[in-house]
Amino acid sequence: MISIHKETESALLLNLNTSEANLVNADEFKAEIISLFDEHQKKIILSLKQVEYIDSSFLGALVAVLKHLLSFKSDLILVGLHKDIINLFKMIRLDKVFKIYDSFDELPA
């Protein structure tokens, strides 16, 4: 469900290829992204451009992944969130926890 968009010297840019991020695929997502981090050992920039909705289970998986990456002094950055998902993040204040950008192009150098 995750594809590599690009690899740079310092980061791995990934696309999440699902329209519904939910209970059904949360565990698979967590395993896959942690495996990619273990392999490449770089901060991860994850695009949710294709994701139309995300539920509490998947949000929990994102937090778990962020905790894992931060424990290795790395990071998980999110880009391309739809308006409804941004609203969900703001509603439960996860916008205070994750760095969020509009797209890969908006990332600071």
Binding site: L23, Y53, D55, S56, S57, A61, V63, I92, K96, V97
Partner: protein, 177 residues
């Protein structure tokens, strides 16, 4: 105007998503014309998704139903089942001296969720934002958001247990204006 419909929900994940779509379509087609449909639909999708997720996570091999009530000013969704009574942290029974008190269900650096035990059979859920400092510890952030999402999306979120029938009802109220 009062529109009502009951949706019987099985506990398989595939049928949950079919049910979610059917429920949202039914509600969308029956909302008053001049309400903020985008905002209402966003909140309802969040609420119903989490109610259905709760049915998958705590199946108890019982049938779950979602009852939808829409009038000019409100929408109410009741999730009912005859499974295990909701009693996290052993909230019940209530100490004899108290008529109602709050119990913290979850707390992290961002939010707290509480259950106000109004009676032995009736609980109201609510949430509060916590004061977040710049140096908060990521490991203090919770990974479970279901009750929080419903509490924040709904105008009222309650639970009722009928001792005689054993019926559990999670009820969500949303104002349309």
């Amino acid at each position: 105007m009062l529109v009502t419909k009951t949706f019987k929900i099985s506990n398989s994940t595939q049928s949950q998503f079919i049910s979610l779509r059917q429920i949202l379509d039914f509600i969308s087609s029956n909302l008053p014309r001049n309400c903020d449909a985008a905002e209402i639909n966003f909140k309802l999708k969040a609420i119903i998704t989490e109610l259905l997720n709760n049915a998958i996570k705590h199946p108890g091999n019982v049938e779950t139903a979602l009852h939808v009530f829409i009038d000019y000013e409100h929408i109410r969704i009741d999730k009912t089942d005859l499974g295990k009574r909701f009693n996290p942290n052993n909230l019940i029974p209530i100490p004899n001296e108290k008529s109602g008190y709050s119990v913290q269900l979850s707390c992290d650096a961002l939010n707290s969720v509480y259950a106000y035990i109004e009676t032995e059979e009736f609980i109201k859920f609510y949430s509060e934002d916590n004061n977040l400092t710049n140096d908060f510890d990521i490991n203090e952030i919770d990974e479970h958001f279901g009750l929080l999402i419903i509490s924040k999306s709904a105008d009222e979120f309650t639970y009722h247990h009928n001792k005689q029938s054993g019926l559990n009802t999670f009820s969500v109220n949303l104002k349309l204006f």
